[in-house]
């Protein structure tokens, strides 16, 4: 399939079918048949490929996200409380 054979966009049923499965495609969660179907569809369709690339880029941005809010150090008192809770849990486990 090439870009002259289908109208890329919401009105195109073939494109809609691809759009619905793009995340599963990128996550490697599709069956080999569905995967091939998408690869065949986007093979020669530059706008579709560009859309996939833009989706991949935004997923990567989410994976690299660092909150603007810095994480503060835990108060010593809480740290000690956590350690005591862990030790108590281990004792219950052993008992």
């Amino acid at each position: 399939m090439n870009s002259t054979k289908h109208q890329h966009g919401p009105a195109d049923d073939a494109c809609l079918e691809v759009f619905e499965k793009l995340s599963e495609y990128l996550d490697g969660e599709l069956s080999p048949q569905d995967c091939k179907h998408i690869q065949d569809h986007i093979q020669d369709c530059v706008p579709c490929v560009a859309f996939v690339e833009s989706l991949k880029a935004s997923i990567q941005a989410a994976r690299d996200l660092h909150p603007d809010e810095p994480v503060r150090e835990l108060p010593d008192e809480l740290r000690e409380k956590l350690k005591a809770a862990w030790k108590a849990a281990l004792q219950r486990r052993a008992g």
């Binding site: 966009g9 759009f19 994976r63 835990l74």
Partner: protein
């Protein structure tokens, strides 16, 4: 030998065996991860910090109930999710609503031709941006804002899958959802973020107003 892919798993195993040297790295790793999650779910620093601390305390209080250390991350986030639900204040959450595929697909793509995507549809690859550069920081800030504005049912899935790196099955277990629902929400949430970022940064690298 340490688990090179998931050091948290190794720390959890060692903590279950009573190895105190695993305590600090475990706490520091999860403090950061859980705060990131609660911050993006709660939207208020005080709430996020309180929920993150409550979560850590519950984690250690319940440590004897950790049956599968290989799934420690999902176990911790399940506790964090429950505390977020208890704490949540409707006023700071984006309203629950369904996102339709129609509103998330590229529209008429003005400016595009048959050989490319519209300038307004382009999303930069963060890995190609300078680590400390302005554009990368702007992109990060815009993404954080976009994330907080996502309807909660989509945000929780995107956070667990893409930001925290849980598998689809783990995210489904944490959120008490079916795998199919997680996949659907993840996809629509990703498309919504893509749409938001696409309108924000242009291929020339200029942050739009």
């Amino acid at each position: 030998m340490a688990d090179l892919i998931n050091p948290e798993v190794e720390w959890a195993r060692r903590l279950l065996e009573g190895d105190a040297t695993a305590f600090t790295p475990f706490v520091e790793s999860f403090q950061s991860k859980v705060f990131q999650y609660t911050w993006l779910m709660c939207g208020q620093r005080e709430d996020a910090e309180e929920v993150a601390q409550d979560t850590l305390l519950k984690v250690f209080e319940s440590f004897d109930q950790l049956r599968e250390p290989e799934h420690v991350k999902a176990w911790v986030f399940r506790i964090a999710k429950n505390y977020c639900l208890m704490k949540r204040r409707r006023s700071v959450f984006a309203p629950e609503r369904e996102l339709s595929l129609d509103e998330l697909m590229p529209g008429s793509m003005p400016g595009s031709d048959s050989h490319g995507i519209a300038a307004s549809e382009w999303v930069p690859d963060a890995r190609e941006l300078p680590e400390q550069g302005l554009l990368r920081r702007e992109l990060n800030h815009e993404l954080e804002t976009a994330m907080q504005e996502l309807p909660e049912n989509y945000r929780s899935v995107v956070l667990l899958r893409d930001v925290e790196g849980l598998t689809t099955a783990e995210a489904a277990e944490v959120l008490d959802l079916s795998v199919d629902v997680v996949k659907q929400r993840l996809h629509r949430g990703r498309l919504a973020l893509r749409k938001r970022l696409a309108g924000y940064v242009t291929p020339a690298g200029k942050v739009s107003e």
